[in-house]
């Protein structure tokens, strides 16, 4: 907790990449949003015991990471945050789905284990796709495209607010924690009996702070309902990108490429 400040920076570190200029960065935000959505929907649409057919989909993150020059280290660190949730979701499958799916050597592999691995892998693919999207598209462009796709305005605004206030909240927490630690030399960390008042104070302080931030936003003409933005025209490379991403993704979904190979050879 002592390094909350650096954690806060971590949250936005991916987005800082979004101001870079690579081929992928220059693409139309709508194209990137749609291809990411398509990819995620298709990954999720596979049945829960599928693993082998998912492997070719790795092409998507690998190629995009390379094209956009996004460092793997930042991406993997962020993707790891989703790991506990995937583990939690997958673990019950191992426990309850114990029928044998197939046997490797003498080792029986249960359906549960297969679906566990599938969940982990699918989570990784989806999280990676979304993280890449964030890394190559400025946040305000993303939310503008969501609005143009007629996502309910209240959700988009809420999404923007949460995204921005999380920094405010962590900043406030880190300032309070530092002040606390400096006055409690003999203890390490926050003591249990101070937890309640610390949390209460944090809530009040970040609320106050959020109010001031909101005032400052209003003074600069912020009005959540009137988020206007110029319509950016689609170019040939946008269309090409959309085709280049969605065709393989759809084909891999429709045809079992592994079967094709075994049939040929």
């Amino acid at each position: 907790m002592a390094n909350i400040r650096s954690k806060t920076q971590d949250i936005y570190s991916l987005e800082q990449l979004s101001s870079k200029s690579s081929r992928v960065h220059a693409l139309h935000p709508m194209v990137k949003l749609i291809s990411t959505l398509l990819f995620v929907v298709i990954i999720v649409s596979f049945n829960r015991y599928e693993f082998v057919r998912l492997i070719p989909f790795v092409f998507y993150p690998v190629i995009l990471m390379a094209l956009s020059e996004t460092p793997w280290s930042i991406m993997l660190r962020r993707a790891a945050l989703a790991l506990p949730f995937a583990l939690l979701a997958g673990i019950s499958n191992i426990l309850f789905d114990t029928d044998t799916a197939f046997v490797i050597g003498y080792l029986p592999v249960s359906f549960g284990l297969v679906s566990f691995i599938s969940i982990l892998f699918r989570t990784f693919l989806c999280v990676a796709a979304v993280l890449i999207l964030v890394a190559v598209t400025p946040f305000n462009q993303l939310t503008n495209q969501l609005r143009r796709l007629h996502a309910p305005d209240i959700f988009v605004t809420l999404f923007e607010m949460i995204y921005r206030y999380i920094g405010v909240l962590l900043d406030e927490a880190s300032a309070m924690y530092t002040a606390y630690i400096l006055r409690s030399t003999e203890h390490k960390g926050l003591q249990m009996r101070h937890m309640g008042s610390f949390a209460g104070q944090l809530l009040i302080r970040s609320y106050d702070r959020a109010e001031r931030v909101y005032n400052a936003m209003k003074c600069r003409g912020y009005n959540s309902l009137a988020s206007r933005s110029k319509v950016i025209p689609l170019t040939g490379s946008d269309i090409f990108y959309l085709a280049a991403v969605s065709l393989p993704v759809i084909l891999l979904r429709v045809f079992d490429i592994n079967k094709l190979f075994t049939a040929v050879f």
Partner: protein, 235 residues
């Protein structure tokens, strides 16, 4: 031009923070707002941009009376730099923060980009462009916060204690910078030497009222007046 006529502001808890205050500030005029802690400086500034609503009196900017319907019009003309830059800088990156206001004005991305660039270069902070505000020093944050307001092309700027948290060198830089900007401005400050250098005119506040309004030189060197306003430390 800002014209304030007999405004009074009361907080919801009953605190009468501003009582019957009137003054005008002309285009290009630079005015200091001085007063002890709790005198009502911040409250006054917030009511000028319509964050707080006076229960009597009127405020007008360039002839436009501040009311619900004209709120955006007034805020486009009067830019407020908040006391704490952390309240003003909330976007992950400085350039997004500077673009925030112009985007809200509905300007096209090209013009927004122009505004960001000229604000950055006018303040000499081009190198901060892609940086996160979390990683800046207090002085850099202060200048960046000014840039977020400058990019809206206001006619009038108001500042709440702009020299707070600044070391002598940054403070000097800020003074230089402010004297370059052509905007009319009202600056709430405790820094008398700063007021002396930047603002020919001073409004002195005491307990929510205007105690004196005149030449900075004549007010801040007058030990009796300053003492009466609860500001012990005369120059």
């Amino acid at each position: 031009m800002i014209a304030v006529n007999n405004i009074s502001v009361t907080y919801p808890d009953g605190t009468k923070a501003i009582r019957d205050v009137s003054f005008t500030i002309n285009d290009g005029e630079s005015v200091a707002l001085i007063g002890a802690n709790g005198a009502g400086k911040t409250t006054l500034l917030l009511s000028l941009v319509g964050v707080l609503k006076p229960y009597t009196g009127t405020i007008s900017v360039d002839g436009i009376t501040l009311e619900r319907q004209t709120l955006n019009e007034v805020r486009r003309r009067v830019g407020m730099v908040f006391q704490n830059p952390d309240d003003q800088l909330f976007m992950p990156m400085i350039n997004d923060d500077i673009a925030f206001g112009p985007r809200n004005l509905g300007l096209s991305e090209d013009i927004v980009e122009d505004r960001v660039n000229s604000a950055l270069s006018e303040l000499g902070i081009g190198h901060l462009r892609g940086r996160s505000s979390l990683r800046l020093s207090s002085g850099e944050k202060r200048i960046a916060a000014i840039a977020t307001v400058l990019s809206m092309n206001p006619t009038m700027m108001i500042f709440d204690e702009p020299t707070a948290f600044l070391d002598p060198k940054s403070r000097r830089g800020l003074i230089k910078l402010l004297s370059k900007l052509p905007h009319g401005r009202l600056i709430a400050t405790h820094d008398l030497a700063f007021a002396d250098e930047v603002c020919p005119r001073t409004i002195l506040m005491k307990n929510g009222t205007i105690f004196a309004d005149g030449k900075t030189r004549e007010l801040i060197y007058d030990a009796r007046i300053m003492d009466e306003c609860g500001i012990a430390d005369t120059l």
